[in-house]
Amino acid sequence: MSISYFKLIILTLIIVIIQVSVIRPLGLTKAYVFADLPMALLVALLFRVQEKEAVPTGWLIGLIKDLFTSTPFGLYTLGFCLIAILFINIRRVIYARAAVRLILGGLVAVLLVEYGILTFEIFRGHYSAAAFKNLATIILLSALITALIAPIFSLILGKFHKSLGLRSQIYK
């Protein structure tokens, strides 16, 4: 069974549209911090796709996210690809319950990608070093929310695994 990339594109588009229209007004704190839904989807998928499907999956989700953000084009695509490579190599090494692995995965993935992009943007002169503390808090909060959403996405993907061409159980 192999993943249906067409259905993956449709699913990612739906999730990104929900993110930019519905989720933002529901955000937390004064900065309306919200979950990174495409990242939660990627983490949930990376525990269900075959090894060779991981990088194209990360690439597609990252590309769609890049098209809906004003971050320099390609940063999220690259970040999501690298997360896919990392997760494929460590998913069989971590021994824990499925939910714990997904929560940890979501947390690590958001922190790595967002801090990577933030560092890139600081070097390009977008943000001042003084802004780093505030942004770091926003990223951490977003990572925590995303981590909690990843297991929910995994459950939903489990229900529709056949039509998406995924494994019914996550890799152990």
């Binding site: 990104v16 549209i17 929900i18 993110q19 930019v20 229209s21 519905v22 933002r24 007004p25 529901l26 955000g27 704190t29 004064k30 900065a31 309306y32 911090v33 919200f34 979950a35 990174d36 495409p38 060779k52 990088v55 194209p56 690439w59 990252g62 996210k65 890049d66 098209l67 809906f68 953000t69 004003s70 971050t71 320099p72 084009f73 390609g74 940063l75 695509t77 690259l78 690809c81 690298l82 490579i85 967002e114 933030l118 977008h126 943000y127 802004a131 505030n134 942004l135 808090t137 926003i138 990223i139 977003s142």
Partner: protein, 298 residues
């Protein structure tokens, strides 16, 4: 390449995907912006409806509501409070303009008033998908004359059924600045975004000429005004206005009142000032873009 088995070719392409992506980073900004705006305008009807529905559901809830004050009554009172606050501040600005008119009538100098700017009303259709950024997408673009750097206003006047410009402009405040322009959609950065900077002036009874400063967004915290000399006399409640600029906003316009001011610990010669946002910036439905026409003629 024909001798290669199909599966191997796919595997190789997959292996090089991250490397291919690195080339994306060198794409000209105009190309990526064009793609983004095309997609935004394509999905605009859907995202706009979803956003409006979410705001409709979440509106009116407040911690200050009680058995005596319903959520709806609180919302109306709060709106009225903001309206009166903005009205007082901007009326003061209008008085200044009228005072300037006396000079013009006496032929001393040329006026540059708000009536010499065009306005474009826009719906906020979506937010940026990056949680760090406070950037929103609106449904007007270069075909209506929107340009990068123009200021974005919003306020209580947006709730009125018949909006008349420039007569209703005094009810509004500056909420952002245009960041990127497509043909039919544009992005604007909120004044509370971490990357937002704008020259401002602080006015009070002691300083009728205003004290210069630089407004910066703080994300999680209220906005602050930097570069204000410690020698200036300011106090909480003083008003922060955008510094008039021929290219962006020809008259001074309210941003918000000072909520706190204390000596900056990092540089004791300066003030550390916090400014309250004029409204809930993340729940904007409609905004107005100011397009000064005088500058175009030059």
């Amino acid at each position: 390449m024909a001798w290669m088995p199909k599966k191997l070719k796919f595997k190789r392409i997959v292996a090089y995907l991250p490397l291919i992506t690195v080339f994306f980073l060198f794409l000209p900004l105009s190309v990526s912006a064009k793609a983004r705006h095309l997609l935004s305008s394509f999905f605009a009807p859907l995202t706009s409806v979803l956003r409006d529905a979410t705001l409709e559901v979440t509106q009116g809830t407040s911690d200050l509501t009680s058995s005596d004050v319903s959520a709806e009554k609180y919302r109306l009172l709060h709106e009225e409070y903001i309206r009166l606050n903005n009205q007082v501040a901007n009326m003061q600005s209008q008085i200044d303009i009228q005072a300037e008119k006396i000079n013009i009538l006496s032929g001393l100098k040329q006026e540059f008033g708000i009536h010499k700017a065009k306005f474009a009303i826009a719906d906020v259709i979506a937010a940026d998908s990056d949680t760090k950024k406070q950037i929103y997408i609106i449904n007007v673009g270069s075909d209506l004359g929107v340009k990068v750097g123009q200021l974005v206003l919003a306020g209580i006047a947006m709730h009125d059924s018949q909006l008349v410009f420039p007569n209703d402009a005094y009810k509004m405040s500056v909420v952002g600045q245009i960041l990127e322009v497509g043909k039919k959609t544009s992005n604007f950065r909120l004044i509370s975004d971490m990357d937002f900077k704008l020259p401002v002036k602080i006015f009070n009874n002691l300083n009728t000429d205003g004290i210069d400063g630089s407004l910066r967004g703080q994300g999680l915290k209220p906005m602050d005004v930097k570069m204000v000399s410690g020698k200036s006399e300011i106090s909480p409640g003083d008003l922060v206005f955008v510094k008039p600029n021929i290219k962006t906003l020809p008259v001074k316009m309210l941003i918000g009142p000072l909520t706190s001011c204390q000596r900056d610990e990092d540089s004791p010669m300066m003030w550390k000032i916090s400014v309250a946002a004029p409204m809930d910036l993340h729940k904007l439905r409609q905004v107005v873009i100011v397009m000064p026409t005088e500058y175009e003629q030059e």
